[in-house]
């Protein structure tokens, strides 16, 4: 009887994690931030984050901004 093929998935190198990677290195992430800002601008002022996206310099900062706006959008859906 044939044996099942079990493939071990190597672990990602710990050194790969770099939330301080400059945002300028990733055009997609920069674009995602701009699109989130475009959507955020349509929210009532009181619901906006107040974050100036021009000051976002790293992947980690971009992710934090995207999280805040995503939460706002979900919160509005619950209202």
């Amino acid at each position: 009887m044939a044996e099942q093929l079990v493939v071990r998935v190597p672990k990602t190198r710990r050194s790969s994690f770099d939330p301080n990677r400059p945002l300028t290195k990733n055009v997609l992430l920069q674009t995602q931030v701009k699109h989130f800002r475009h959507v955020e601008e349509k929210l009532p002022l009181a619901e906006q984050t107040g974050i100036d996206i021009a000051r976002l310099a790293t992947e980690g900062q971009a992710a934090d901004y995207i999280r805040r706006v995503t939460q706002k959008l979900h919160a509005r859906a619950k209202d």
């Binding site: 009887m1 044939a2 044996e3 099942q4 093929l5 079990v6 493939v7 071990r8 998935v9 190597p10 672990k11 990602t12 190198r13 790969s16 994690f17 770099d18 939330p19 990677r21 290195k25 990733n26 055009v27 997609l28 992430l29 674009t31 995602q32 699109h35 989130f36 475009h38 959507v39 349509k42 992947e59 980690g60 971009a62 992710a63 934090d64 995207i66 999280r67 706006v69 995503t70 939460q71 959008l73 979900h74 509005r76 859906a77």
Partner: protein, 414 residues
């Protein structure tokens, strides 16, 4: 109808980021010559006019920095360099020679040695998850990005069957009468979810979908839970993690999208986790088809010329976005990896592409909503010209379900 199709209740699509077919799967030609990968003698000229050959030297991270340009004008050069329009006199060449990848990458830093890295590909076995899936299920020789351009517009074809005339990363808006595949499913009383990784990674489709329909979104953790409980919707679209960030629980989360210069190995683990989640629920496994593909090539070399296709009338691209090249959405982008996974697919299926003039089949991202529409019997009207003409892919599911022992299992590191 095959038994596989009879049993099919769920379609899951996982779309990764920015890698070409040859870069990820090109090495598999040596293992199975039906797979239209690399022979090893493919070259591109560098700026000193020396031929640069493909080499199995791709690494998980650190080589493709800066992010290779893949906006429309750069991709146009990657495809058509050496033909009229790029300094060579003569008539328009409809079949791109695929000779401009190295020169296009050189444009970014003017570094000849670094520009050669755009020709690197992953050695056989260096991507154990992707290579195993490609050899175990159905690998497509002819799945192409929908547009010779970047992410946003290519992903739009997966969601809407069109990009509404957009060829760049800029914002686009949905135009009537076209609907997203999610709206079509919901109108038909079907269930659907877009699973993003977490709220910090979120979605690329914020302007039209997340903003207006946040309820159709859920997280990767919810996907795992839905697989476990058997509550997966009829159609699921999964987005990977687009950024390195701290997770809600304080853990370090590495981007899994495989977008250069993110770590490809983390993407391998992410793909394995999606596969395992479906595979470990026996009822789900026998009733689900998982399509794994990439949104576009990310500026990385591939040797197969993208074919022409029906124009996406009435749309035409802005000349500002194309660098002055008229574009009617009548030819496809660069080839990307695509693998269809199901126990109803015979092991080692290779779907021929343009290399086979008799049996070859061409797929693109509009094939995704086209296939979902067909399988779930959704309203076939009011779809883009491109989607109406896109080939569907579920006829690959056959009559025999492979035994469990015949389907690979991934053992992930904890």
């Amino acid at each position: 109808m095959s038994a596989g199709l009879d049993n099919l209740e769920h379609i899951v699509v996982l779309m990764m980021e920015n890698r070409s077919f040859d870069h990820m799967l090109g090495a598999l030609y040596a293992q199975d010559p039906r797979i239209n990968g690399l022979r090893g003698n493919e070259t591109n000229p560098d700026t000193t006019n020396e031929p640069v050959a493909v080499q199995p030297l791709a690494d998980f991270q650190g080589q493709l920095d800066p992010d290779p340009d893949h906006h429309f004008p750069a991709v146009h050069k990657q495809l058509f360099f050496g033909t009229p329009g790029f300094g060579t006199p003569g008539p328009f060449v409809p079949v791109p020679p695929m000779q401009g990848f190295v020169q296009s990458y050189w444009d970014q830093e003017h570094n000849v040695a670094h520009s050669h890295k755009i020709m690197y590909y992953f050695a056989a076995g260096s991507l154990p998850v992707l290579h195993t899936l490609a050899r175990s299920y159905a690998v497509f020789n002819g799945w192409f990005a929908s547009i010779p351009g970047p992410t946003t517009c290519n992903r739009a074809f997966a969601h809407y069957g069109t990009s509404f005339g957009q060829v760049s990363l800029d914002i686009f808006y949905v135009k009537e009468p076209f609907l997203s595949i999610y709206d079509r499913l919901l109108q038909a009383g079907r269930t659907t979810k877009l699973y993003y990784f977490d709220q910090s990674s979120s979605t690329i489709e914020v302007v039209n979908l997340l903003k207006n329909q946040p309820r159709i979104f859920a997280t990767y953790d919810q996907f795992l839970e839905d697989c476990k409980r058997g509550t997966l919707p009829d159609y699921s679209f999964i987005e990977p993690n687009y950024s390195d960030h701290i997770g809600d629980g304080g853990g370090e989360l590495v981007a899994s999208d495989q977008h250069p210069d993110h770590d490809v190995q983390e993407g391998e683990d992410f793909i394995a986790s999606i596969y395992n989640a479906i595979r470990q629920n026996p009822d789900l496994w026998k009733s689900t088809a998982l399509l794994l593909t990439y949104d576009e090539h990310g500026g990385i070399h591939d040797h197969v010329p993208p074919p022409s296709c029906v124009a996406d009338t009435p749309f035409q691209a802005s000349l500002q976005d194309t660098g002055g090249v008229p574009f009617l959405f009548d030819r496809l982008g660069v080839r990307v990896p695509a693998i269809l996974i199901s126990p109803w697919i015979p092991k080692g299926t290779v779907v021929p592409g343009p290399e086979d003039p008799v049996n070859g089949q061409v797929f693109e991202h509009a094939s995704i909503p086209g296939t979902v529409t067909r399988h779930f019997g959704l309203n076939p009207d009011n779809r883009s010209v491109r989607e109406k003409n896109a080939r569907t892919f579920l006829d690959l599911l056959g009559d025999e379900m492979r035994p469990d022992v015949d389907c690979p299992h991934f053992e992930r590191s904890v």
